[in-house]
């Protein structure tokens, strides 16, 4: 199975919606690659600069209800073409979460205490997080410290990731 992890982009806010992740004015694109420079362009978060802050990051950590609003799968695609294959949050909107797994990517939910801990101890520093899908452990490294946090995904979500996405899974089964 593919590996998930890398440098973290911290987005310290709840209810980040898919209009912020990829604004509607870019929904006229019919290729995923074209979305690359537009990721998080309208994010309403003080101090965040999409031009500087996204490059070289492979993981997003955010607060609750990440990906709410529009159903646009352009949001996970915009993450994907920027090399971000894993989002960790306290909770996700249903469609966004399903879209991530449907694309063979990871949306990991952690209890609020664990999210608080990651933000408190690691935000700001050059942090990396790796997900061990076999061990169920997230390894967090950065700012001179290390942490391990247990996580789980459902059997079905795991099957989607293993298959490479929902199209591949459905092709085998239906």
């Amino acid at each position: 199975m593919r590996n998930f992890g890398g440098k973290v982009l911290f987005l310290d806010r709840s209810d980040i919606n898919t209009d912020e992740i990829i604004p509607a004015r870019y929904l006229t694109e019919v290729s995923k690659e074209a979305l690359k420079p537009c990721l998080l362009e309208d994010l309403n978060l003080e101090g965040f600069d999409p031009e500087k802050d996204i490059k070289g990051r492979q993981v997003v950590v955010a607060r609750a209800n990440f990906g709410c609003g529009s159903s646009r799968e352009h949001a996970p695609w915009a993450l994907e073409v920027n090399g971000i294959h894993m989002v960790i949050a306290e909770s996700f909107a249903r469609i966004f979460r399903q879209n991530m797994f449907n694309c063979g990517m990871l949306a990991i939910e952690l209890p609020s205490e664990a999210i608080d801990r990651i933000f408190d101890e690691f935000a700001g520093a050059d942090t990396e997080i790796y997900a061990g899908l076999d061990t169920g452990i997230l390894k967090v490294k950065g700012g001179g410290g290390e942490d391990e946090i247990a996580f789980s995904i459902s059997e079905f979500d795991r099957a989607l990731v293993e298959a490479g996405g929902w199209v591949e899974y459905a092709d085998l089964h239906y």
Partner: protein, 427 residues
């Protein structure tokens, strides 16, 4: 086991139960528009699977940007048009016959109680007004739906919202749902189905029920559902009259999809709306809601009346009632977009479009247009739009713009005053 509406629909449409709570459902209909479908089409073509599971169950419209505004949107339309032709999809609504998907498809009689519907659009929850399980999905789900006629969902948990009391004059379904959103929060019903019940819902027209269900997703819900009754059957009758001997027989059949008396809900919430006043949003989230009176005097640059939330004939009628014999403020640009050609025609015949024109509104063709800031009324940085749509997200109607969501009556009154204000219909 007593069941909720969604549980009954899941049990009657189950194709597979691949793991735990996940159900794969057979789909009665897959709806498509030009923003989220072309990427699915291109992917199917590149996989050598340019097929559809059943052309008669796929309904397609170009609605978000129409007429096309540039080469890119023209290409999206072309991909959809060519695909529908190749795959023999008869229900394809192109320019001249097209309108906002969630208004057009019910108007065409495509939604039935107890059915399953997906679309690559979050406001697909609107169709739950007919007692259907209708859910917005992403493009990959849409792609598999088109190809295989199935979609995976978690076995539904439901919330029941009981709406009691009597609505005051000048207070509408939009005010009710804004108020409910203010109470539930944008995360308050995530991954749940909301059943809207109670005397206020029973009194509502199908149009108002659609307004109610339309914004269920703003609380994170998968679908909003109203119970089929005689109002539902009367709306559907022209489309189902060959299937049933009489409307009563249709209702008897659809009652299969009412919840059992002891069905289990995650929660049951009661709202008494007797004292509810018109509501408006004030921030960048649809749960930032307060009474219009508390926002009185907030200046606006544009007023937009339309969309899948409030672009139906009943909405235009109310707005026209407020506008009759008056002019909108010189400081305001007014835009109205009847949601479908049928809405447009009826509004024309009733003289409603004339009222809008006399008041100084621009009447556009049916389209999503300004609702998502793609065309027909995008606002400039720092501008404020009073809107009958469903999302006030930062930049939704144009980068750096502010949107205040409200009912058509409040929007019309706001256009006349030049600032947010209650309509004369609310005494």
């Amino acid at each position: 086991m007593p069941k909720t509406v969604a549980e009954k629909i899941f049990d009657s449409h189950r194709v597979d139960n691949p793991a735990g709570e996940m159900y794969v459902l057979g789909l009665d209909a897959v709806f498509c528009h030009e923003i989220t479908t072309p990427v699915a089409v291109n992917d199917l073509v590149s996989r050598g699977k340019d097929r559809v599971f059943d052309p008669s169950r796929i309904k397609v419209v170009i609605d978000h940007v129409t007429p096309a505004k540039d080469s890119k949107t023209a290409l999206q339309g072309k991909i959809l048009r060519d695909w529908a032709k190749r795959n023999n999809i008869k229900h394809f609504f192109d320019i001249g016959r097209n309108g906002v998907c969630h208004v057009l498809f019910p108007e065409q009689g495509f939604v039935r109680p107890g059915s399953t519907i997906i679309m690559g659009d979050s406001h697909t929850c609107t169709h739950g007004a007919f007692g259907a399980f209708a859910a917005g999905v992403g493009t990959t789900d849409l792609e598999v739906g088109i190809l295989k006629g199935v979609c995976a969902f978690r076995y539904p948990r439901s919330m029941k919202i009981q709406i009691s009391g009597t609505l005051r004059k000048g207070v509408y379904a939009k005010d009710v749902i804004l108020h409910i959103l203010g109470e539930l929060g944008v995360n308050g019903a995530t991954d749940q189905v909301i059943e809207f019940a109670g005397p206020v819902v029973e009194e509502m027209t199908m149009e108002s029920r659609m307004t109610l269900c339309n914004m269920a997703v703003e609380a994170g819900a998968t679908c909003g559902i109203c119970y089929p009754d005689m109002t539902t059957v009367d709306y559907l009758w022209p489309f189902i009259k060959d299937e049933f001997d009489a409307p009563e027989a249709a209702l008897a059949y659809y009652r299969k999809f009412l919840p059992d008396p002891d069905a289990q809900y995650n929660s049951i919430v009661e709202f008494d709306v007797s004292n509810l006043s018109p509501q408006v949003t004030f921030g960048y989230k649809p749960d930032n809601v307060r009474p219009v009176s508390e926002m009185e005097g907030t200046p606006v640059d544009q007023v937009y009346i339309g969309s899948c939330t409030n672009g139906r004939l009943e909405d235009l009628r109310v707005a026209a009632e407020v506008l009759a014999g008056r002019r909108i403020s010189d400081s305001v640009r007014g835009i109205v977009s009847p949601a479908t050609p049928e809405t447009y025609r009826m509004a024309m015949e009733e003289g409603i479009l004339g009222t809008f024109l006399d008041a100084g509104f621009c009447v556009t063709n049916p389209t999503c247009g300004a609702c998502l800031g793609m065309s027909n009324g995008v606002i400039a940085e720092g501008e404020v739009c009073a809107s009958t749509t469903n999302r006030n997200f930062y930049g939704r109607m144009g980068k750096g713009g502010m949107v205040h969501l409200m009912s058509p009556a409040t929007a019309a009154a706001t256009a006349v005053a030049g600032h947010i204000t209650n309509s004369k219909l609310y005494a």
